[in-house]
């Protein structure tokens, strides 16, 4: 039985419970007009429905985990299974094939050896499906009857239902903590495993990056796991080139749109700028790799620079900067809007021009907010993946020349984890270590930036 069927069964049974509960609650009403029930009939109905649906769902989860194993056991116990090869790939293949035929996913077996297994599989699946349905209905009946019998005019079904609702709400908000813990836990776990092969100092301060994926895990050369070229590439593309593009353009766009532009023009231009942020990064990557990179390379060659690469850091950085413009612009917008109007008015009243007011009063007063916005922009840029995967180079290179190929942390994570290598190889694990560094750096940047923004708001309130 597929999980969806089980969920549908749970909903169906719950609905029956709901109707039964409401019918009983209505019958209290009709038994005496002066009788006041503690809760409205709909809460009685929900009480029974929850008592049916939750146990059924719990059983469904349990059953989807154990049923395949039970089916497997009973199939392997049949005489046909004794003919299977004892171990290895073939055995798995035959079993999978027979299962696919039995469940109707495939029309016929490819290997004749699997043929004999089809019938036992079909029997076992049919048998356990029947058992599953019977137990589901039994669970629903027992729990539903228990809840149904508890319904009385003075039974406070509402309190019980509301308590369940509150539990569900609390559980929902715990998902965020679980996700954070999951990220942190999995990254730390794999990183620690990686550090049993390569020492943290070598990883963080080594200057040569070139994981040897084909070498046996025990024979790797730790000196090829120095991530400094990657950190440098990430910073150079995300925090230097991209910011050289994004900060002036973003700031000046914000200034023009909030201080100078006609409101009607602003109503049109602002959504257009936001569109720039809504374009998927894969589209930017495509643009950087296929349109901008050749232009930059040809321009560099034309002015006589040899060795310019089509995978240059410049193309990726510029496009990334363009992507960040709306982000910087809206952060600067917020920061300048938070500056009290009196400061601006005072400056204008003293005879300063608009640009003098902006440069000498508004900017300095909004500086903490703008800096925090830039930090958030940097954290977004260094975590950006698709643009650099498509436009930057897979080969790590420690250089300050923006026309040379350069790699970033995210490029290496993608490169190391999209192949077909074993999950225990240090090269694979190093991707998690890189991810951990990225996670901690972006977390730190965000944390500091949010603190600065908060304090800055408080200062003017």
């Amino acid at each position: 039985m597929s999980p969806i069927t089980l969920i549908l069964i749970a909903i169906g049974l719950g609905l029956i419970g709901w109707l039964a509960g409401r019918a009983k609650a209505w019958s209290f009403k009709s038994s005496g007009p002066e009788l006041r029930t503690s809760s409205r009939p709909v809460y009685h109905a929900w009480y029974v429905a929850l008592w049916v649906a939750i146990p059924v769902l719990a059983f469904a989860v349990l059953w989807t985990v154990i049923a395949p194993q039970l089916i497997m056991q009973s199939v392997l116990a049949t005489p046909a299974a004794q003919a299977l090869p004892p171990f290895g790939f073939e055995r798995e293949a035959f079993i999978n094939e027979a299962r696919a035929v039995a469940t109707g996913q495939a029309s016929a077996v490819f290997n004749a050896e699997a043929e004999g297994l089809v019938a036992p599989f079909r029997d076992a699946i049919g048998r356990y499906n029947l058992i599953g349905i019977v137990v589901t209905v039994l669970v629903a009946l027992v729990c539903g009857a228990f809840a149904f019998l508890r319904l009385r005019p003075d039974f406070s079904a509402r309190t019980k239902v509301e308590r369940t609702v509150m539990t569900v709400l609390l559980l929902a908000s715990l998902v965020a903590i679980l996700t954070t813990l999951g990220i942190f836990g999995s990254l730390v776990f794999e990183t620690v495993r990686f550090f049993s092969f390569v020492s943290p100092a070598e990883f963080l301060f080594g200057t040569k990056w070139g994981p040897d994926t084909i070498v046996a895990p025990e024979a790797i050369d730790p000196s090829r796991y120095g991530a400094v070229p990657l950190f440098w590439g990430t910073l150079f593309i995300g925090a230097i080139i991209a910011m050289i593009v994004a900060i002036p353009l973003g700031l000046m766009s914000a200034v023009y749109l909030t201080q100078y532009a006609d409101p009607r023009v602003r109503a049109w231009i602002k959504p257009l700028l936001e569109l720039l942020a809504g374009v998927p990064t894969v589209v930017y990557g495509y643009f950087a790799a296929l349109t901008l990179a050749p232009i930059i390379r040809n321009a560099a060659v034309a002015v006589g620079i040899t060795g310019a690469s089509t995978e240059s850091a410049l193309a990726a950085g510029i496009v990334m900067g363009v992507m960040i413009i709306p982000f910087v612009s809206s952060m600067a917008d917020d920061a300048m809007a938070a500056v009290p109007g009196a400061m601006r008015d005072g400056s204008l009243a003293m005879g300063a021009t608009k640009s003098e007011t902006i440069r000498r009063v508004l900017f300095p007063a909004a500086l903490p907010g703008i800096v925090a916005g830039i930090m958030l922009a940097v954290s977004r840029a260094i975590g950006e993946t698709m643009i650099v995967v498509m436009a930057a180079s897979p080969a790590a290179n420690l250089t300050a020349n923006p026309l040379e190929p350069m790699s970033t942390v995210t490029v290496q994570i993608v490169k190391l984890l999209t192949g077909e290598q074993s999950t225990d190889h240090p090269a694979t694990l190093s991707a998690f270590a890189l991810g951990f560094v990225l996670f901690m750096v972006t977390l730190g940047l965000n944390f500091v930036a949010l603190r600065v923004v908060k304090r800055f708001r408080e200062a003017y309130e």
Binding site: T180, L257, K354, V389, I413, F439
Partner: protein, 427 residues
Amino acid sequence: MNAPVLPAADASGDFARPTRTAVFEQRLAKRYRSERNFRLIGLAAVAFSVAVLVFLLGNMLINGIGGFQRAELTVTIDFPESGVTGDSQSLSASNSAQTLEMQGLPAVVAFYAEAQLGAAGAAELSDDGWRDVAAALANDPTLIERKANFDLPASSALAAALQGEGPPAMQQLAQRLVADGKLARNWDGGFLTRSDATNPQAVGVWGALKGTMLTMLVTLVLAFPIGVLSALYLEEYAPRNRWTDIIEVSISNLAAVPSIIFGLLGLAVFLAIFPNLRSAPLIGGMTLALMTMPVIVISGRNAIKAVPPSIRDGALAIGASPVQVVFHHVLPLAMPGMLTGTIIGMARALGETAPLLLIGMRAFVATPPDGFTSPATVLPMQIFLWSDEIDRGFVERTSAAIIVLLVFLLAMNGLAIYLRNKFEKRW
């Protein structure tokens, strides 16, 4: 009363406006100039951003229009003569392609192609061309009783030659076939209904689109309820204590974590639990749901905050319980805002590629996924995969796929803006 003592005006100064000396005028002109320049720089910054946007979209559009066309060779097949048979039932069955293949349809197509296009022309017919014939037969089984024309995809070499690229011999062949009326670039509606293939003339986005829809459905079903419920809890019920602080901090951090980190989580946790669901929409949707959920929580909390306290007080005053207040009054009023935030979060998830790359949704998927657990790919991933192809024919196809993706994103954002304008209440 003494008249105020005026500073001595210099020779050029206006006696009525004694401060406006020549030096002053110069300084003022300079200040105004710098004001004008500053303003122009601002205008230039805005103009640059808009120009980049226009260039980006225009570039995609111009390339993409070519991507909605393909080079097609016209082949006439006489079915009664060929011996391929079938009735309306067998031809519209789901396995009709296999039945026709066993009847030798590929050879039949090749035979007629050779007779009509010559050996050189037939060699440039895409290997999978007969599948288009089979699909046409499935659509219209009556074709099998007569002679019919089929426009079949050409090989990518011939397609390139048609556009004036590639070796001269091939270009001559293309010119000959065009002159015979056998080769043309036609509008390719099938681009929206086919799936991935190795020949750029035979590819389509439907497989990726369906994968996207399945993935987004999983994301929506998981992220929307969890996001809305946790927004309600945090905004309406959560006690002010350490735990609530931890929840809030982790939500605001999750909203800022790079998306690739969610891919690492999906790889290390989800794929470790379900190892045989690699590249399934279920896992992709779960990963994207974790990424979308914080966005929904944050926008949901803002929507709840916007509901005035008088609504809550009124409901409490007539005896509603706290749960009733929220579910009967606050939630319906906050719903439009929450939906807007959800759509924006979903639009972001729709364009996301990096986390899905890590959980293996980069498989070559030639048939549309038929469920939440079958291998699939998504539209942004298809764009990424095609952009890596060496064949020139894929460049236009990639742009066309980008247009399809942007149309979806624009539609979603448009819907969000419409919802916001229609249902937004000012209290």
